[in-house]
Every structure is written in structure tokens, then in C-alpha cells.
């Protein structure tokens, strides 16, 4: 066995997803006319044609894979779940919630009761999607025995008090005001399954959803075949059939695409993209803003409990060099804030650049000259190890000695949560608000920078209780300004997510960050 030479051999895309409350949608949204779905195709793709079979290669989860949408964990799981099932809402390219199975949502005055009306949709067996199905699905996800990933996202809902108000009406009772409640409905893994489908245990043999494709066959770790659902509420997909195949090695996905064995290859390396971009053999699609890249400083311990040290580190980073070196140029530079290009991102703040003299001066003021820090990294995500060594060299110029320590990629995220002082960090797309609620509040579950400030928590609660969107945006701006000045995340870039498709594949969205509605959305894709 010679696998030790290929640390990236089994890289799998874990999703970083929203588990907090949601981002800011309008408080009342109607699905009609607001669907962005119709014009997501690349320009010049022409008129869609019907028919054909598309094969899509993803990195997968091996023989343990399941089609239970509530167990979805990997990108492959999410793509399959999206084909078979629907959520009440999903995220647009700017990470704002868009209605899906929910036709409308409306809050009461205090934002702690939400009336949701379902659109007319049917499951693949012809039964209508009802309020009872939604409540069943949410209660299944929230079952403490099951430890489903989406459970934390649904936490704001009091499911015992929530009830059906008709066949297609649901009143959600919340534990506290939640202005971003639509984001909860769009949370990763919050799919609607028919009542009692958990007990009947047929997720891997005859799963029934309301999504654009119906089940044909499934072999864990190998392939899943789905067929067009003609009665899909949003209109039947263009494709006749869709097959997901699993290929964990990036070179295998590229080769299969080049050799005509698949028409869509998910997650390619920047070097592969450069080699084939514009050569005419395959089409390369870059989804911008898909992964925040940065370093997380633990603000509760030395040396990063001194905000001057944190600011010095902000000023040490040469962001362009990091993007070019660690991401092979496939991305844009960051400004120490999460969510560039997303709704509520504070884009008015000046772009920070390298300033070694100022960094040195700040370190001197803080009494941290000749500082030595250990930077934890791991081969868990593309570019981590490279980013660590580039930053080590940059820090040396400011008189800071960084020891890079390699950790296990299988337990990296749990290891860095409470241990160490400085680590490589990345995050998939989620609303700015979800990033805050998951990572930056005192009781956040994955607070990797140990950012715990009561006044900051209070601002978050204030935003959640603010009905007016402009006023709410102002609160988020204040919070982000503080993070920009003295936060624990040094966000140096945002990586593109890279896909390859055969030339005849049309209608692939090039705007949607990985893990939003239009990402891996095969019902809008056709073969020319």
C-alpha cells in the first residue's frame, strides 16, 4: 500500500453550513415571481432541450453512504438530497433565504410566531405535501436521540407548541424573536420527507421526496440513479435521467470527464482548472465566494488576548500572496470579515493590507517582541498546509516566529476548537448572521476564536428582534466593524469552488456559491 504518498487521496468535501438562525429575508415573501431559478443559466446557453442522461462525479462517503436526507454530511449527500427532496426555503447566491416549498411566510409583531403557507406540491407517490409532513420532518430532525446535523439549526423552534393550521398552513412558535427565521427553513439538511418515512426505513431502497427527480437505484459508495419527476411543482427537469457516481480522487474525476465517462465533475483543483480553461475540451465553472479562508486566533488566551497582537497579525498577512500561493490564484482576497458578496456583508470598510512596520510597533507596544506562536494546520482542506508555510514566512519579516504543526485531518476540526492558540480555518457559504450565531456568541457551539462578549451577544439579540431590514443591517454593520477592528478571524481570502462540465452541458449556474440553491442544481441543467 503506497497511499502515504498522497495525503490528499481521500479529501472529501465537508460542508460548513448554517446551523444558527437565518439571514435576513424580507419578513413577508411570496414565492411567485421571486424565484431566481429561471435565469441562472450561463449566458448564451440558448434554449433548453429535453432529454438525456447526465452523469455527475462527486467525492463520496464510501460504503456507508445513505440517501436519508437528514443524515447528509458531504457535498455528494447534499447534491443527492437536493435532487430527491425539497426544503421550505433555500439560499440564493447572496445567501438570503428564498422560498421553496414554503409559498409565503409571515411573522407576528414580536417575531416569535411565524405563519408559513406551503405551495401545492406532491411527493413522488402522488400524495400532497402537507403541514403534517413538515412537522414530522422537523420533529425527526430535532429528535435528541438521533444527533442529526440540522438539529442545531432548528433549535429556535418550539416544536411542541408549533402546529398545523390547515393542510398547507403551519404556525411555527419560536423560543425567542428570530428575524432571520427564513434561514432556519433553508438550513442545511432540513429536508421535508413524507410522514412516517423514518420509521418505515426505506430511505435507501425506495426514498420518496417532493424533489425534481425520483428514485431509480442506489448503491452506496458507487452510484445513485434518479429519473425526472414530471409533476415537480417548479416544472419537470430537462434531463431524463441523472446519475451520481462516486470518485474520491480528483484526478479520477477529471479523467472521467475528459474521457467522456461523466458530464459533470465536482470539486476540481485550481491547477486542473488552469490546465483546461479555454482549451475547448471541457468547460470550467468557478463558483466565487464558496469558501472563506483564514486563520483563527483564540482571543481568550495569550498572546491573542491582547487586541494589539491580533491587529498586528492582521497587518502581517500579505493576502494577495496567500491567495496566489495557497489557492493557486483561484479566489479573491479577504478583509477579516466573513461573507464577502453576501447579504449584510460590511463592504464599506477599507481593505486591509500588509504593514510590517505598524505590525512591529503594535507587537512592541504589547510587549510581544520576539513572539513565538504555534500554527495548527492539517491536510483537511485544500491550501491549508501551503497557507501555513506562507504565513510563517510573512510573520518572520515582522519578527514573529511561527511553528507550523500538522494535525490529523480526520479530527482536525474537533482538535482546534478548544486547543492551541492559532490555526488554519475555513468555512463554506452560510449567511453572515449564521456565521455569527454559530461561532461568535458566548453560547455558540463552534466558537473557535473564543469570542465571548456580552455586549456583542446583546447586539445579536437586538438584530434578531428588529423588524425593519435597514435597521437590522445597521446592527450587523456595527457588529462587523468591531470584528474588523479586533476580532479573532484573520480572513485572508475567499476560494472559488471549481467544477468541470462537458461542453454540451448547459444551464449550470456560475454565480451560486457551493451549497446554495443553484449549486449542483440538476433540474435546471440540460444537454445540448
Amino acid at each position: 500500500m503506497h497511499d502515504e504518498r498522497f495525503p490528499g487521496l481521500h479529501r472529501r468535501g465537508f460542508l460548513a453550513t448554517a446551523t444558527g438562525a437565518a439571514s435576513l429575508g424580507a419578513l413577508v415573501l411570496t414565492g411567485c415571481g421571486s424565484g431566481p431559478a429561471e435565469d441562472t443559466g450561463r449566458e448564451g446557453d440558448g434554449k433548453p432541450t429535453k432529454g438525456g442522461r447526465l452523469r455527475a462525479a462527486f467525492a463520496g462517503g464510501g460504503a456507508g453512504e445513505t440517501l436519508d436526507p437528514h443524515l447528509a454530511n458531504l457535498f455528494a449527500d447534499a447534491a443527492r438530497a437536493k435532487a430527491l427532496y425539497d426544503k421550505l426555503a433555500d439560499f440564493g447566491a447572496d445567501l438570503s433565504a428564498r422560498p421553496r416549498l414554503a409559498e409565503t411566510w409571515e411573522a407576528n409583531k414580536t417575531l416569535d410566531r411565524w405563519q408559513v403557507t406551503l405551495r401545492k406540491a406532491t411527493f413522488h407517490d402522488g400524495r400532497p405535501v402537507t403541514a403534517a409532513d413538515v412537522l414530522y420532518s422537523y420533529r425527526r430532525i430535532a429528535d435528541p436521540e438521533q444527533a442529526f446535523r440540522a438539529r442545531a439549526s432548528l433549535e429556535p423552534i418550539d416544536l411542541d407548541a408549533s402546529r398545523a393550521t390547515g393542510e398547507r398552513g403551519i404556525e411555527f412558535v419560536l423560543k425567542r424573536p428570530t428575524a432571520e427565521f427564513p434561514n432556519v427553513l433553508a438550513a442545511f439538511g432540513a429536508y421535508v420527507v413524507p410522514q412516517d418515512s423514518g420509521e418505515s426505513g426505506g430511505f435507501d431502497t425506495k426514498p420518496i421526496g417532493s424533489g425534481p427527480f425520483r428514485f431509480v437505484s442506489f448503491t452506496p459508495g458507487r452510484s445513485a440513479v434518479f429519473r425526472r419527476y414530471d409533476d415537480y411543482w417548479e416544472g419537470a427537469p430537462h434531463l431524463d435521467e441523472l446519475e451520481f457516481v462516486v470518485a474520491n480522487e480528483e484526478s479520477a474525476r477529471v479523467n472521467a470527464l475528459l474521457g467522456g465517462q461523466v458530464e459533470y465533475a465536482h470539486e476540481l483543483d485550481p491547477t486542473t482548472a488552469r490546465a483546461h480553461e479555454g482549451k475547448g475540451q471541457i468547460a470550467i465553472v468557478r463558483l466565487p465566494g464558496s469558501a472563506m479562508q483564514g486563520f483563527a486566533m483564540k482571543t481568550d488566551r495569550a498572546p491573542f488576548d491582547d487586541k494589539r497582537v491580533r491587529e498586528a497579525f492582521f497587518l502581517i498577512a500579505d493576502r494577495k500572496e496567500l491567495v496566489d500561493g495557497a489557492l493557486s490564484g483561484a479566489g479573491v482576497i479577504g478583509n477579516d470579515l466573513f461573507g464577502k458578496g453576501y447579504e449584510y456583508y460590511a463592504d464599506g470598510l477599507p481593505q486591509r493590507g500588509q504593514d510590517l512596520d505598524r505590525a512591529r510597533a503594535l507587537l512592541k507596544q504589547a510587549g510581544a517582541e520576539n513572539l513565538k506562536v504555534t500554527l495548527d494546520t492539517s491536510a483537511v482542506a485544500a491550501g491549508f498546509v501551503e497557507a501555513a508555510s506562507i504565513f510563517r514566512d510573512q510573520a518572520k519579516k515582522a519578527g514573529v516566529t511561527i511553528d507550523v504543526e500538522m494535525g490529523s485531518k480526520d479530527s482536525y476540526w474537533a482538535d482546534i476548537l478548544d486547543n492551541g492558540t492559532l490555526c488554519c480555518y475555513r468555512s463554506g457559504a452560510m449567511p453572515v448572521e449564521a456565521h455569527i450565531s454559530q461561532r461568535l456568541l458566548t453560547d455558540s457551539t463552534t466558537n473557535a476564536t473564543k469570542w465571548k462578549h456580552k455586549d456583542f451577544d446583546a447586539l445579536y439579540q437586538q438584530a434578531q428582534s428588529t423588524r425593519d431590514k435597514t435597521e437590522r443591517a445597521a446592527v450587523y454593520e456595527r457588529m462587523q466593524r468591531r470584528l474588523y477592528t479586533e476580532g479573532g478571524f484573520l480572513v485572508w481570502g475567499f476560494a472559488d469552488w471549481i467544477l468541470g462540465t462537458a461542453r454540451r452541458v448547459k444551464g449550470v449556474s456560475a454565480e451560486a456559491p457551493a451549497n446554495t440553491l443553484d449549486w449542483a442544481r440538476f433540474d435546471k441543467v440540460w444537454l445540448a
Partner: protein, 317 residues
């Protein structure tokens, strides 16, 4: 033959003990790895409460010796247990992965024997001359190329440039026999290095045997050259090669991770790699049992063959 029988019995017993030792070692090593199945499953959402809940659901909150005892009890009843990450039976994991692995191993071994022995004999016959030098330098050169590099090279040339063969077996699942073209490249990569080492062993053995007194004696009796080579010299030369062949087949059956990953063949190597990454202890242990027993049986078989070919070698004593 009673000596042989007791030898076999002793070796099998020893093999079982070795397998038990391997399983215990594997268990201890996985326990020693950072993180467990719950941590691996939680991935980039290491919410401590969720990890605790997952741990409880997987019964990982129980002490290690209890989990091991449970698993051993199951094994005594012929059960390999269930996967931590999916809850499916480990036996099913192994059965599903074994088909592709067995197919690749069988094909490779079937081609390896004639190719390796043929080249070795050919080189020995022409010792020091052009054919020998050619075979020796090519086998040495091919042996030096890592599988991964060779695999990529073959895909680039034969699948992407010439378009003679499919680049991977993606989407063919277990029905690999239905797509024989997809098997050509992986089998070539698997063959490359074993053919080289085997042919060099056979060549050396043949040259030794041909120079030996008993071959000289046979020549003096006027026995034909071909008969001397194939019925007198070759068996003696095969003894070390048989051992090498057993090791190669063992390597093939225990999952060839690089080739499986490169050509998307979901065999035992892939199952092992996934299971270790997921810290799925029962699956890794089940594989350790299967791999351990395979190794024992194959090596025993090789010893018996060696004994038959060269009784004086005394490998059995």
C-alpha cells in the same frame, strides 16, 4: 505424510494466533489515533453536544475493553459486527468490496505467472546477451516507476490521447466484467512491478540451477536442452518465486488502494481507507480478520508448493 499434516496444523494454529494478534494491534492502534468515529462524523461542525450524542448513539461512551469483548463474542458466533457510521453489517462491506478486488487479483495473477516466468526463463537462457540485457534493464526501469505515476501516464496516453480505453471504471459498480476494457489499465499497472520482481527472481534461480552439478549431470546423460530447462532446472528456480508470488497475490487481495482510487474501482482497499478515515473500528477489525487469514493461507500454500518443488530446501522443517 503425517509430518506434513502436523506441519499444516501447526501453521494454521500459528496463523490464527497471528490473526488474533493483528486484530488486537489494529484495535489498539485505532484507539490511539486522534479522534473517534463521532468526531470524524461531526467533521467541520464539532459541536461538543452533538459529538457527545453521536458517541452515545454509537456506544462509544462504553470502555474500550467492553466494546472489544462484545465484538469478539459476536465473532465467535460468526458475526463481524455492524459499521459505526452506517449501522450496516460489516460482512456486507467486505462482500461488496471483495468482488472487484478478487477480479483484479485473479486477472493480474493469471497474467503475472506466464509473463513473469516466461521473461525470467528467456533472460536466463540468453544470459549476458542482448535479450537478457534488454529484459533486465526494462524490468529494472519499470520497477522504479511508482504505481501512481505509471497509472497517470497510462491513462494520459491510452485513454485521453489515443482514446483506446476508458480512463476509469467510474459508474460500472460491481459489473466490471461487463466492461472488460476498463480493466486493462488497472491490471497493467498492477502487473508492472510484480512482473519485474518475479522475472528477475526466476532469472536468477534459473541461472543458478543451470550452473548446478545436477544439471551438468543431466547434460552428460544427453538429455535435451528444453527438457533440462523445464523439467529439471525450472522447478528449482521456482521455489523462491513461489514465495514471491504468494506475497504478490496477498498484496492484491488485501486491496490496492492507489489503483482503486485512480481507476475508481470500489474494492477492499477503498473500504479500508474509508473505514480508517471514519474511525469505523468494526469495519477495520473485520478487514483485519479477513486480511490476516488470507495472508496465513496464501503463505502456507506457498510453503507447500515450495516443499513440493524443492524438498531439500527444508523450508518446512
Amino acid at each position: 505424510m503425517s509430518g506434513l499434516r502436523s506441519f499444516v496444523a501447526r501453521r494454521l494454529l500459528l496463523g490464527v494466533l497471528q490473526t488474533i494478534a493483528v486484530v488486537l494491534l489494529v484495535f489498539a492502534l485505532i484507539e490511539a489515533l486522534p479522534g473517534d468515529a463521532a468526531v470524524a462524523l461531526a467533521g467541520d461542525q464539532p459541536d461538543p453536544a452533538r459529538i457527545a450524542a453521536l458517541r452515545e448513539a454509537m456506544h462509544l461512551d462504553r470502555p474500550a475493553h467492553e466494546r472489544l469483548t462484545d465484538w469478539v463474542t459476536g465473532l465467535l458466533h460468526g458475526e463481524l459486527g455492524t459499521s459505526l457510521s452506517s449501522g450496516r453489517p460489516v460482512g456486507q462491506y467486505i462482500c461488496d468490496g471483495f468482488g472487484p478486488t478478487l477480479l483484479l487479483a485473479t486477472l493480474t495473477a493469471a497474467l503475472l505467472v506466464p509473463a513473469g516466468f516466461g521473461l525470467g526463463v528467456l533472460a536466463a537462457r540468453h544470459e549476458g546477451r542482448l535479450a537478457d540485457r534488454l529484459i533486465s534493464s526494462v524490468t529494472l526501469a519499470v520497477y522504479a516507476v511508482p504505481e501512481f505515476a505509471l497509472g497517470i501516464l497510462l491513462v494520459t496516453v491510452f485513454a485521453l490521447q489515443l482514446r483506446w480505453l476508458p480512463p476509469t471504471a467510474v459508474g460500472y459498480g460491481t459489473d466490471l466484467l461487463g466492461h472488460p476494457a476498463a480493466l486493462v489499465l488497472p491490471v497493467l499497472v498492477l502487473l508492472a512491478r510484480p512482473v519485474c520482481s518475479l522475472s528477475r527472481l526466476v532469472r536468477a534461480g534459473m541461472i543458478d540451477a543451470l550452473a548446478s552439478p545436477y544439471v551438468a549431470q543431466a547434460r552428460r546423460y544427453g538429455i535435451s536442452g528444453a527438457r533440462i530447462r523445464y523439467t529439471h532446472a525450472l522447478p528449482g528456480a521456482l521455489a523462491p518465486a513461489a514465495q514471491q508470488l504468494a506475497r504478490t497475490v496477498d498484496w492484491l487481495l488485501c486491496g490496492v488502494i492507489v489503483v482503486e482510487a485512480l481507476y475508481v474501482i470500489p474494492g477492499l482497499g477503498t473500504v479500508l481507507l474509508d473505514a480508517v478515515a471514519e474511525r469505523d473500528v468494526p469495519v477495520v477489525q473485520g478487514l483485519a480478520v479477513v486480511f490476516g487469514l488470507l495472508t496465513v493461507v496464501l503463505n502456507l500454500g506457498a510453503d507447500l508448493v515450495t516443499h513440493r518443488l524443492a524438498p531439500r530446501a527444508g523450508v518446512i522443517a
